[in-house]
């Protein structure tokens, strides 16, 4: 198997000298195959949530959990973020927090819009 020779850097990367040469992200195939397998499993799980018709907070929390796990696996392993330097990781991972703040603001806003609509137009369509 060629897998054994594939992984040179990764865990030891942080202590390496700051040369300007780009390093190749090469890891054992097994890591990818395992993650691939789990992506299939998690997708199947989130589909099952809809198929069996779970409702309410159980449905929403399960959807969110499976979504976050899938997204995390893709970013960390498939996109190699787990092996990059923190300078790059934080530059990419932190800014989307602004989107979450925006989401929160708009959640309050749409709550208010709904309230005014029901006040002036009544509850039904």
């Amino acid at each position: 198997m060629t897998e054994a020779t594939a992984d040179g850097h990764g865990a030891t990367q942080a202590a390496q000298p700051a040369t300007h040469s780009a390093e190749h992200q090469q890891h054992p195939l097994k890591v990818y195959l395992v993650v691939w397998f789990w992506l299939f499993v998690l997708s199947a799980c989130s589909y099952v949530v809809d198929y069996v018709g779970l409702q309410g907070y159980l449905r929403w929390s399960l959807i969110l959990i499976f979504m976050v796990l899938k997204a995390g696996l893709i970013v960390a392993v498939f996109m190699h973020m787990a092996w990059e330097r923190l300078a790059l990781t934080y530059a990419i991972i932190l800014p989307p927090i602004a989107v979450l703040v925006f989401t929160l603001i708009m959640a309050f806003e749409s709550d208010y819009t709904l309230m005014t609509r029901t006040t002036f137009f009544g509850a039904g369509p």
Binding site: A22, Q25, Y32, S46, D50, F78, A91, I92, P95
Partner: protein, 237 residues
């Protein structure tokens, strides 16, 4: 372009101290990635904001309407024989896209190992799966349009459903289509051996290297990543 990095500098500290050192070093910040990769990541970050804003405007529309939202489980169901299976097409599309992500990762890996034949094979397979995805999306669109879904209204519930659906899935489908085109371009370059001999690209005149395959992979995985969020928020919620 002048190289502003001091070669063979002292080892950098790990963790947060390393982060501070990289950003405060008055040199290149992203030290061990090619600039193509750094730029792709920054482009993907901007794309994250675009899709983030689409999804949150969808949330705003859905939360603020008095009219019930269409039941996506029924709207996107398919009939197999006489049985109606909820979200069947969407589930297949999800699996197709995840499969393509897996083949992409293999293509990157075989590229770095200089196994050109396998790399080209997996790149073409990725492009094929991507094209399949777009084809199924076209089928889904025409089915919904036939049923009377329009950006300004639909027979199933709140009017904003159509606008959100066409905007979000349309923009994602465009990303997949562009990805397929670029996959074919990269596959051709690998096939010709451009990345082995460092042949310069016609557009950027940069020396080719297998790094380009990884950068292509970043884009492709991002497309898959966006679908994960669309699948959760638009189809399942």
């Amino acid at each position: 372009m002048a190289d502003t990095t001091i070669p063979h500098a002292a080892p950098r500290p790990p963790g947060l101290r390393g982060l501070a050192a990289d950003w405060a070093s008055d040199q290149r910040t992203f030290k061990n990635v090619s600039w193509g990769k750094a730029m792709m990541w920054i482009f993907l970050l901007s794309d994250t904001f675009i899709f983030g804003c689409f999804l949150l405007s969808y949330m705003t529309a859905r939360m603020s309407t008095r009219v019930p939202w269409p039941n996506t489980s029924e709207v996107f169901s398919l009939h197999v024989g006489s049985v109606s299976v909820p979200l069947l097409l969407i589930a297949i599309m999800t699996f197709v896209l995840i499969s393509s992500s897996g083949t992409m990762v293999l293509a990157v890996n075989y590229g770095y190992r200089r196994e050109r034949r396998k790399a080209v094979g997996f790149l073409l397979l990725t492009a094929l799966l991507g094209a399949t995805f777009v084809g199924m999306q076209a089928f889904e669109w025409s089915k919904l349009i036939e049923e009377g879904v329009r950006p300004w209204g639909n027979p199933f519930g709140a009017d904003q459903f159509g606008a959100s659906f066409f905007m979000i899935t349309g923009f994602h489908g465009t990303h997949v289509s562009i990805g397929v085109i670029f996959l074919l371009i990269v596959a051709r370059k690998v096939w010709r051996g451009d990345y082995d001999v460092g042949r310069r690209g016609f557009f950027t005149s940069r020396k080719g290297s297998y790094d380009s395959v990884e950068v292509m992979g970043l884009y492709w995985h991002f497309v898959d990543l966006v679908w994960v969020f669309i699948f959760a928020f638009f189809y399942l919620w």
